[in-house]
Symmetry: C2
């Protein structure tokens, strides 16, 4: 631990320590006496009481909207969903008309109610309490709604994504070890996940008479066409595990590829044929369709999180591969 | 949204809606006048004020420890780290001596202070406020510590893991599309991550004269020895993309494998030789060492999260593969 204990606490360090506590993100709204809608982003929300149903949140005494909230008997708390980061940013900024262009729900209390949230609480102020440079609002919940949207999370000053620990998973697997091998090895998990995905595509590859390495070479050429065997090697020999030249050659008689000329050193330049590119795009569409199906099975939120982490992993462990999809 | 708005709110539904708001998990401790340490798990913690530095949390009026907290001027809030789930469970249960066997820190105020947390706040009660069936404790922070441990998160009634959205990642990649191919395709991400991992092992495989498919067959036999080619096919043909028999045969002259007999149908049973098993265990240790290095690069918390999600993905998209590591 970094010992930051000081007689006079450093506000920046104090904020950082508070940030260690992860929270959801809420937008809290009310309506001024003149009908103007006000709203702000807050992560100081929390539950207080079940019976009576009560929640609380804190508002800075310097907040522009403080007079509205202290005067208004009613306010609404919107717990934001993972895809509502733009809404969080919009209501965190001062000045502009925060509600411009938003599709609000009408309701009896005339509170401005946002849509698409993870949960929404309509409240009536029970108490306003002194809290240093903030006022603590405690409200009784008069009605609420809930959805199954995954939550937006805030931690250490940044937005975060969360996945539930899943007790239904066969956790024992992680511990199962036989002869020095464990199913929890990262290399095994990555390989099994990849090949389970790839297996869905393989019947289609087989129908085209393609081996796995032939397909990987074709997919690379679909991204960047007109390249030498060396360029293909530089980009994907880590997955082929061998030189690409024989694979490129094997695709010439089948009509997938053609040699379109030579470079300055007289080295062959390979291109997809029109028919080859067309077939390849169909296979890529099939791969995308497999992805949609598989992500539906683990849920969209976990799918997005898995992809985020794979991006991070690839970025952090990149041995210096050229990006096929850049201008090399 | 499931509209659950009712005149009399259903407490179970209300709890579920409150659970949509993700939180960290804290353990809050104090010491009774007789010196007894008390503590409980709470997720109702939140920040209140920066100047003066103040935090709050709520305690049920029915809590066993309520008299201690209402009488005690001092209490400590421990924001738990991702690996402190057992501590959360320990302090969430009633009855037993919650502090038994715990290694506490000594400090001036004689508060029971737990170690290894994401953050820790020592507080002096400023206010005790009415909050329905709870009391809201607002305290001024007299000192605090912080570490970089990733947080334990609670959401929808379960523990969760969180990863920060990383703005330093080249996000444009996700959008980069060429010829129908995007680097955000799940199949590409899984394949690239797997082969970047595998590349680290390949020089060692090459030193042994092993191809990738030969290694995958050997690794499978390290987990379960004495099997027919059919059994190997059933378990790993999805990654080999071909029959295993020729690969098994190719490993006989090199001294990795031996045929130890035949089954009832007269089909050859393959076994690792002593030397083959020994070399295989060295290669598996090398793979584990690559894993340790790569997980250090994305951080332990994200590494654990990636593995959790890969387990989920494999489980949910399993085409019905036999577990090599079970008794098939």
């Amino acid at each position: 631990m970094n010992h930051d204990a000081t007689p006079a606490l450093d506000p920046k360090e104090f904020r950082a320590a508070l940030g260690s506590f992860a929270t959801g993100v809420t937008v809290i709204t009310a309506r001024a006496a003149d009908g103007t809608a006000v709203g702000l982003t807050a992560n100081s929300f929390n539950s207080v009481s079940i019976d009576p149903p009560m929640v609380l949140w804190s508002l800075s005494k310097r907040a522009y909207s403080l007079p509205v909230f202290t005067a208004s008997e009613h306010w609404a708390v919107h717990v934001l969903a993972a895809d509502q980061e733009p809404l969080s940013n919009r209501f965190a900024r001062a000045g502009e008309d925060k509600f411009a262009g938003l599709d609000l729900e009408d309701n009896v209390a005339s509170l401005p109610l946002l849509k698409g949230c993870a949960a929404r609480f309509q409240c009536k102020t029970s108490f306003q309490y002194e809290g240093g440079d903030h006022i603590i609002f405690v409200g009784e919940v008069t009605s609420f709604e809930r959805s199954d949207h995954p939550p937006l999370v805030f931690h250490a000053g940044r937005y975060a994504l969360a996945t539930q620990k899943d007790p239904s998973l066969p956790q024992a697997r992680s511990a199962r070890v036989a002869g020095g091998f464990s199913e929890d090895l990262l290399g095994y998990l990555l390989g099994r996940a990849f090949f389970q995905f790839h297996e869905g595509l393989r019947s289609k590859l087989n129908a085209h008479g393609l081996s796995d390495p032939q397909w990987w070479v074709i997919a690379a050429l679909t991204a960047k066409d007109g390249v030498t065997a060396q360029a293909v090697d530089a980009a994907i020999s880590y997955s082929l595990g061998c030189a690409s030249e024989p694979i490129l050659q094997s695709l010439l008689p089948t009509g997938w590829l053609a040699v379109e000329g030579v470079d300055e050193q007289g080295i062959a330049i390979y291109c997809l044929t029109t028919s080859g590119r067309d077939r390849s795009l169909h296979l890529l569409a099939a791969a995308k369709s497999i992805e949609v199906d598989m992500i539906a099975r683990i849920g969209y939120a976990d799918g997005a999180l898995l992809k985020t982490l794979l991006h991070k992993f690839i970025h952090q462990t990149d041995p210096g591969l050229p990006d096929l999809w850049c201008n090399v």
